[in-house]
Symmetry: C2
Subunit: 393 residues, 2 copies
């Protein structure tokens, strides 16, 4: 079997993952449309998810984990596409801060995603082909609406906790703003109540890189048996820089050469950082759908929680019954602490119960996915205290 | 005439600008090779330049301006390709801080550039075709060696001042380190003594974007009558973000929509920032050669002034007779103040005369090109004082 065959198998695998995921799926028929902010009723549609732990008798111990831009529902178990551990296996599991011995943990692939929830890589029942750009644009609120319909389907009225970082944190905030009575506790991490101009700019460059690839075929690459690999890899490389910090890059890579002692005077990956980024780009295209990347980045760009409340963020949380723990990282320049502070001020102004932890770290935005003892300790403390108030053992 | 014809004319114009620029050119024959760090003797070769003002009788009033990555020799006069004013017309001119009534100002296109100095878009005399990737890799030191040969040709032994920002600042530092006796005063602005891992990373993404464009044709696009427009535009868009600051982007664009009141729920440029970036990308490809972009970014990546002095930057400037004025901008995250401070410490350790000005600005790296009264005042003060010591009127 050649390398190319392996890749083709992976592509075939990914395509079927979009329609027939290895995860449990909640399917909604034409009578249960998902009402999208774009003004479209999406139906039929489906949402793929994973659960860990057991729902207790009074259905009060459910924790919803919301994933970030390129994450998925495989938060604490082997990922069927990459074969790697779950993306938050350090935080979610037996005896861990989100303790699956105590809590029923749910994580669902977002609407617009490519891991089994309906998105641009899913088959359009009207044509039998992938939706591609015929899929309607989605928003963070649409992602949350879809999750709420899943939570209904699972028979859960109120979530004990909603937690997520980055785009996952946006969903946490949207949950608390849209369904305050359904969220007992909320933990938005390394996030913001709106996407900044700089972040929109970085996303736009990534989208243009994908669309510049002739193998994108105006989004119809799946029909034509190709993929915009180079464009998506460039998008991922650029984005990846924003997930790290300059000090972390300096510490990890500096100006160290890759497998050589002197520059080659060529365009080879002379520096370790180049070789690392190229690897990040190459591996990403094996696991992620390019159109999904366009849709999900766009959803983040559109996010502005204050906008639906006359520009006043505090109104989004007025009288909220939810208890919050907001976390940021000192070296995160994509979602800097100043954004978390603005959020905390708005929550305070809205009368909410808010804790705020700024974690000293040089690891940049990605710190929320890494081994950060302070994050784990703060999460454990907040969750244990909230569980005590909720009367959970 | 269609839009396409106009573009073709521009391409033709740019091609001839590489070989037969509208600027004065110093030509060096096979007996006067440019010795490159790559171990290659480049010959024949040429360097295109502009001058402003008059050289005085004792040839002591020459100021060399070094341009940045995508700049050129048209520092203070109309650019023949873009039809726009010179890129530093606010700083260089009669009565301005670099006063062309007093000084003889020289600015040359860098080696590897595309505005008349030999580079990958120039015709290779061996083949008659553009060099493309047959052009040897160049370094900042090579750029400075080429300028030194031009300065020799112009009959100038010692430069009164060498000044430049960003990559121009790297050349200033290399001048002072390589030819200390030929540099009376030096003004490196918004620069660093080495390119950081993060900056290498951003450059690598830009190069990969260019090379991912099928119209790049492994560098042979000029022969084939095409250009990697989309790839180069993506590279420019990404780079442009790094030239600005988050506060400036927020102030200038925020989340403001472009010509609309609500999102279109499409991949159109809904936000002003998107439309602005797309325009930056589109206009850049009209004036800059894609291969030059690869070469010149690579030269910056290779820059590490300490490396040629056993890793000790101070040794590069030991006993330097040059007087320095180092400047940085508070919101510049590409070449942050911490890099300028490291430089100042090294200059102090080397026994140099150093002034340091950190300018409060929210305009990011590009502040050095903009109307910054503090920059102008500091430049005027430094230059006037140095001129007095040098006995220049």
């Amino acid at each position: 079997m050649t390398e190319h065959d392996v890749i083709d198998l992976k592509v075939a695998g990914r395509r079927s993952e979009a329609d027939e995921p290895t995860s449990p799926v909640a399917r909604f028929g034409v009578d249960e449309p998902l009402r999208l902010d774009a003004g479209v009723d999406l139906a039929p549609w489906q949402i793929a998810y994973q659960t860990y732990g057991e729902l207790n008798a009074d259905r009060s111990n459910a924790v919803l984990v919301c994933h970030a831009l390129t994450g998925d529902q495989h938060v604490a178990s082997l990922n069927p596409v990459t074969g790697k551990p779950g993306w938050w296996q350090s935080l979610v599991g037996p005896g861990l801060p989100i303790d699956t011995n105590r809590f029923f943990v749910v994580c669902a692939n977002v609407i617009g995603g490519c891991m089994g929830t309906t998105g641009p890589a899913s088959s359009d029942p009207a044509t039998g082909r992938a939706y591609a750009l015929d899929f309607p644009l989605v928003t963070i609120r649409d992602m949350v609406r879809a999750q709420a319909m899943l939570i209904d389907r699972l028979g859960i009225q109120s979530l004990f906790c909603v937690i997520g970082g980055s785009m996952g944190g946006m969903q946490v905030l949207q949950w608390a703003a849209t369904y305050p009575e359904r969220v007992f506790a909320a933990m938005p991490i390394a996030t913001a109540a709106r996407h900044s101009a700089q972040n929109i700019a970085f996303h736009e460059v990534g989208r243009q890189a994908v669309m510049a690839d002739p193998d994108w075929r105006r989004g119809r690459y799946l029909d034509e048996g190709v993929r915009p690999r180079k464009g998506l890899a460039v998008a991922r490389m650029g984005a990846h820089i924003t997930y790290l910090s300059e000090p972390a890059l300096h510490r990890k890579f500096g100006r160290t050469f890759q497998d050589r002692h002197a520059p080659t005077f060529s365009f080879d990956a002379d520096f370790q950082i180049e070789s690392y980024l190229r690897y990040q780009g190459m591996t990403f295209v094996e696991r992620f759908d390019a159109n999904s990347y366009l849709y999900v980045t766009r959803a983040m760009d559109y996010f502005d929680l204050a906008e639906e409340h006359g520009g006043v963020l505090a109104r989004a949380f007025k009288g909220t019954p939810t208890r919050f723990c907001v976390m940021s990282f000192t070296s995160d320049w994509l979602f800097p602490t100043v954004e978390s502070r603005a959020l905390v001020h708005a929550l305070n102004a809205g009368g909410g119960q808010v804790g705020f932890v700024e974690i000293e770290s040089d690891k940049g935005h990605d710190a929320f996915l890494l081994e950060e003892p302070t994050l784990f300790a703060a999460a454990r403390g907040f969750i244990d205290a909230a569980a005590a108030v909720r009367g959970l053992r």
